[in-house]
Amino acid sequence: MFTVIGVMFGGIAIGFLLRRQRLSWIGRVITVLIWVLLFLLGVEVGGNRRIVEGLATLGGEALMIALACVLGSCVLAWGLWHWLYKRKGRSV
């Protein structure tokens, strides 16, 4: 976990040193790497018997809990968003 964060800070430092150059291709690299990681997550899910068998019986429950948690946290985030920005028309 901390290695990943360290690598990112390394990237920030190198990006800062190269700030005179426009690295316009970096967005495309990010998109491709997101695809690769989602593909690999899929491979792990598909290859894990425990998850594949669980998908049918336990998947519904997991989906309900996940959906509730996403919505619950988003409702509070919406409240905070309103409190911070919409009320006084501040910018970030």
Partner: protein, 200 residues
């Protein structure tokens, strides 16, 4: 929308490759996804460091955004407690333990399997993978419905690594620092909250 469909396509393709063992090596045993994640984070770092605007945004960060991880944790736990009313064979504490994984599926499912057995552990694994996938795929909709902070809250503990790129894409580059800070705080809360709700 097209971007999300491509992402789903890659995920489904991966699932099929995994199910029918179409890859010549074991992904779970290799470090390939770790290196891909490092490559991704390095690229994200490059784009942050290369953008002179980021440092200005960091200084202009609203200090009240420290409440964002609190909002995420409270919203998640409240919703998990409510949904337990719809799942009569699951206790409220079990649902809150699964919810407090905050999308950190590897750690939370190991913890829950240890404390509560493999069945709830599997629910935790799936539920937190779903949360990450929902954030990755739903980020543009969440921004439209709940404002720019919503994908960060939805991403939970993953907002400093796997969901960071999609958040910067949908909410804007100025939310990078908030997103990393939020990921850090939420991430550290996972082992404590999961252990607490498993011991109830």
């Amino acid at each position: 929308m097209k971007g999300s469909l491509i992402i789903v396509g890659f995920f489904v393709l991966g699932t099929l490759c995994g199910a029918f063992h179409l890859l010549p090596f074991e992904v779970g045993e290799s470090d390939i996804s770790f290196y891909a994640l490092c490559g991704l984070m390095f690229s994200v770092g490059l784009s942050i460091g290369n953008d002179p605007q980021t440092l200005k945004n960091f200084r202009a960060l609203n200090p009240r955004l420290v409440f964002l991880p609190v909002a995420t944790i409270l919203g998640t736990l409240a919703a998990a407690a409510l949904v337990s009313l719809l799942l009569p064979h699951r206790s409220m504490a079990d649902c809150m333990a699964v919810g407090s994984g905050m999308g950190y599926y590897s750690l939370s499912s190991i913890f829950i399997t240890e404390y509560k057995g493999p069945e709830l552990g599997t629910v935790a694994l799936l539920s937190n993978i779903f949360r990450e996938i929902m954030t990755l795929l739903g980020a543009p909709l969440l921004v439209r419905w709940f404002g720019n902070l919503a994908p960060i809250s939805s991403g939970g503990a993953t907002t400093m690594d796997t969901t960071l790129p999609i958040i910067t894409r949908c909410s804007g580059q100025q939310f990078v620092i908030v997103s990393i800070f939020h990921g850090f705080v939420t991430d550290f809360s996972v082992p404590f909250l999961v252990t607490f709700f498993c011991s109830l």
